[in-house]
Amino acid sequence: MTQKHFVIIGNGAAGNRAADVLREGDSHAKITIISDEFFHFYYRHRLKDFIVGNIDETSLTVRSSEYYHDKHIRLRLGQQVIKIDLNSQLLYLKHMELVRYTHLLLCTGGKPRMPEIHYRYREHFTSMITLDDAKHMKQQLPAVKRMIVVGGDLISVQITKRLLNAGIEVVFLVDRDAFWPLTFSDVIEKDFNRALRRAGAKIISDDAIVNIEKLGHMAYQVRTRSGENLECNLVGGFFGLVPQVDFLVGSGLDIDRGILVDEHLKTHFDNVYAAGDCAQVYNPQLSNYWVSIGWGNAVKLGEIAAHNMLGSPDTAIRPPINVLDYEGIEVKTEWWQEVS
Amino acid sequence: MTNQRSDDNNNPLLNSGIEYFSDEVKRSGIMNYRSTALPTWCPGCGYYGITHGLANALKNLHVNNNNLVIVSGIGCAGRYPFFVKGYGLHGIHGRALPIASGIKMVRPEFTVLAIGGDGDGLGIGGGHLPHAIRRNIDITYILFDNAIYGLTKGQASPTTPFGQYTKTTPYGNPEKPLNPILIGLAYGASFVAQGFAGFPQDLTIVFQEAIQHKGFSFVVVTTPCVTFDHANITYQRFRNIWKKIPEDHDKQNLANAMALAQDGNYYNGILFQDHRNAWHDVQQSIRKNTSITK
């Protein structure tokens, strides 16, 4: 029998939890985590404080390399999987190496959502999902006097507040379609506007972007439907996250918004599982799939997937809806939790 | 000058031997090529005859003493430089040729003679001979072949005949002797000659030719060690066995020379000589051809 090789794509909350559980359950198997990010497992939600200098890079890190050494988990950072051959059980890495797995867990997380109406000028948006994005933004901030934030997701609120605190003028262009993972409602909008205005942001709520033009280095002009031309140094685009499944298209996996898995987080390939933000999980009660976005959920799903991969059945249940006060906004969600 | 030490008195080299020579010898002019030191060899040693022959050759050629350098190895023969008026380097056992070559390379105007015994030149130092020959460096190598280790008092040497009794071959020498002449020819020396210590006049002629030869000259002088060899090379045995080189011998014909070297006879004179370029000439022409100036 060949040695078991658990390969996890994604070095986030889901992937790391799964690796822990797999190692606890099987001390001999090879375990590999592959991530296209260069950095150690870090707290994504702390990025907002990192960009304005509230915390430094070390306090972002969840685990350092010693941990992986001790647990005999091979951590491949900065390596991207570009193709999967599910029949031969091979992963094609971008640097042109083939990696063979016996069991595969997809924890590829989310990527920024880009609404179709903004597609034309998408390269002018700055977003912030990864530490890379955050570092880039942090570098630019000292030269930013004015920033236009477009969107309506929770990240945009967090960031706006931090930017205002840092003395940057923020114009917030509320995009009804961008409310994510929240659904837009009058109550939410009121909450939203109040929270942001209190913090000092200028809010434009019943207008919409028609074009963004780059005038020069860190100089943009945003034209709105009402004919306003707003100039700024950065345009932030925050439209929420969608599952990162681009590289799986055509692999033979069923993909809808995310990777379709059963309640045991298994795809229709026996040895391939998915967990975390990238998974779209079947719920037998609902007879439907649900997508989970959020740190706590990712951890939980990672654990469940690992149990199943080890052969002890475990079922994912849809988390209860909780209500949390988020930056002064009352948020009802089954997804996000307060994490520090 | 510093004080003469008491133990100097025991040193024969320090007691100038000049006055022991007859007026005739002094008048002959060869004393211009003899130092004030008296040789330390045993009375009757063949080396005296060689010394005489060489001093005459140097005199006849009017060699400039200031440019005369004698390099020797170790052995009775190795003492030779001390007895010559000129510059001398009494080096280490077997290494006269490399040292002499080094001197000649940097001072081509010098007359450089290398001298050593058969143990020195064919035993411990045997590895240097083919290479000095190969380079054809313009020095004269005189091998004092007494077929015995003299200085160390009578052990077998590379030219000791098979079966001969010596201190280290008490049951007879189990090894075959080398033939130095044949070796010199086989290695390709541009000048190969031999002679006998008992014929100093003949040696003078050979030495003159050897010194004048442009390139590496190899002269093997058979010489009796009167102290440690009473059976092999003795004056009585050897005086009569030497032959003149046949009239029709072509000195430039290597095959003929090799035939003579192997026919069991001792031939007095030059067996082989050719006039290829010596080391410095080759260096010069390489420089010219590759337009390296100076």
Partner: protein
Amino acid sequence: MIQAADDIVIKICGSAGDGSISAVEILNRAAALMGYHIMNFDAYPAEIRGFGKSVGHTRISRSVLLTTGKYTDCLVALDDVHAITELSTMSKRGVLIYDSKPPQYHQEDQAVAGFIEPGMIGYGIPLRELSTIAVRSSRSRNIVALGVLAALLHLQAEYFETAIRKRFSAKPETVIDNNINAFRLGFDYTLQNVNKYDELDFQHHVYSSNRDSIIMSGNEAAARACLDADLRLYAGYPITPATRIMEILAKELPLKGGFVVQTEDEISAAGHVVGAGFAGARSLTATSGPGICLMSEMINLAVMAEIPSVFIDSQRGGPSTGLPTKTEQSDFNIAAFGGSGDSPRPVLAPTSVPECYLLTRIAFDLAECYQTPVIILMDFFLSNRFEDIDLNQLNSNVFGRFTPQTAPLKDQPYLRFEVTDTGISPRAIPGMENMFHTVTGLEHDERGFPNYGKANHLKMTAKRHKKMETLVRDWQETGTFGPEGQLDVGFISWGSSVGAVMEAISLLNDQNIHSGGFFPRLLSPLQTSHLEVFSRRCKRIIVVEMNYTGQYANYLQVAISKRMERFTRVDAEPISSEDIVNWIIKDES
């Protein structure tokens, strides 16, 4: 360890034939043109033939360099499988440049990028593809990689182009153009496609483009010194790591009217050198351990007969044939004491490439002044490492001035070995009018005649040692390094290890461990008074050298009463400053 963003250790690794070494050569040249200091020590493949690994290893810095650096800050992989074995030397935040488009997929664990440790940063660049665009083959991917390096590390491209032009100056114009094109493709590709994550940064600085420095190895520096010192005869027998000296001189010395002879063995080589020295001409041979063994009898002759002659021993791992391509400092004993009898002779040990030049030049002066063989102890590391050196800035006067004494022409008898206060007898050489003499390896009197009298032997032995005392008096260099006053730790080291010790000293002083050094360049005879003064200043004395027993420490220990500690290594690699610092810190805490 990244000392600073502009002090970077770079390795270019590939199969033999991938051009790693020539790429590093160009990199060095470009860096030197920009006024940086470089130190370069390539790793030789263990096997001569086949497609062994070949690693160009260089360190580029704004400040003067003392070591080649233990950890690699930037590794360029021209061959994945070989490069994987180099990763263990990477610094924690090291940078890897690899080929993102190899001809086919690597099997698992055959791609260097798959081994990038967390913290390291890998940049995948289509090296082969870009090379193919430039020269229609993957041959120039080493040059493409230089373009990547220049763009990534923020080095000025035009200096690379000059260096490339120079490197390929013997080639047709199209080759030069193609390679410059390859360089530019790598450079532009990187600027356009690569987000820089690392901290390595030369900030486009050019310190001085007209510094007169050239890049030389220790062997080249020694050879150059020979040429400048008017060497007349080089005689030698090939042996790693000294052969390069002979090869250079074979080409250059005839241009200056000198001669090079390849002898049948080292005995003969030494014989030629001693012969030429006796004849009054400067002569030298260079060898390694096995050769110095064969030469020791000739060196002894030169001691006894007082013949100026210079011997370079580029040490390698021993004993016997040992480790021909690994460095070690284990020939001190044979250099200082090899041979029979009491045979004192100066032993010099350069600590850097510039000193290989200086001490080789000085060696000829010493040899003539004190009428003695002089041994220069280099080693594989010094022989083969490259440094930028500015010959105009070098000054040998720091070591002292050594002028030979020639005998006045006077009436007979000339006393070649006249006993004087200094031990030095005015020298005559063959060719001089009427100064006849014979020198000998036998014990001799002042005239040079053999003499075995006991009083004479005592007198002449003393005379030969007297010369060494005179040399110690004349030698100006004190060898002390670092702060004055009391020291917590005083280091003594010699030769190629000194750089690492100097680096360690400054690191320790940064951590408030007061330390300094005594680094004699004249290893023997011993400068006892300098050693005593130094040892009185030290709480601890540690002797650092690359041999097992502490050969130099043993030699020094008899001269002072304070006990010396030994930091000795024979791990076939140069000692690193990190090793020394860690050792001390472990002890001190």
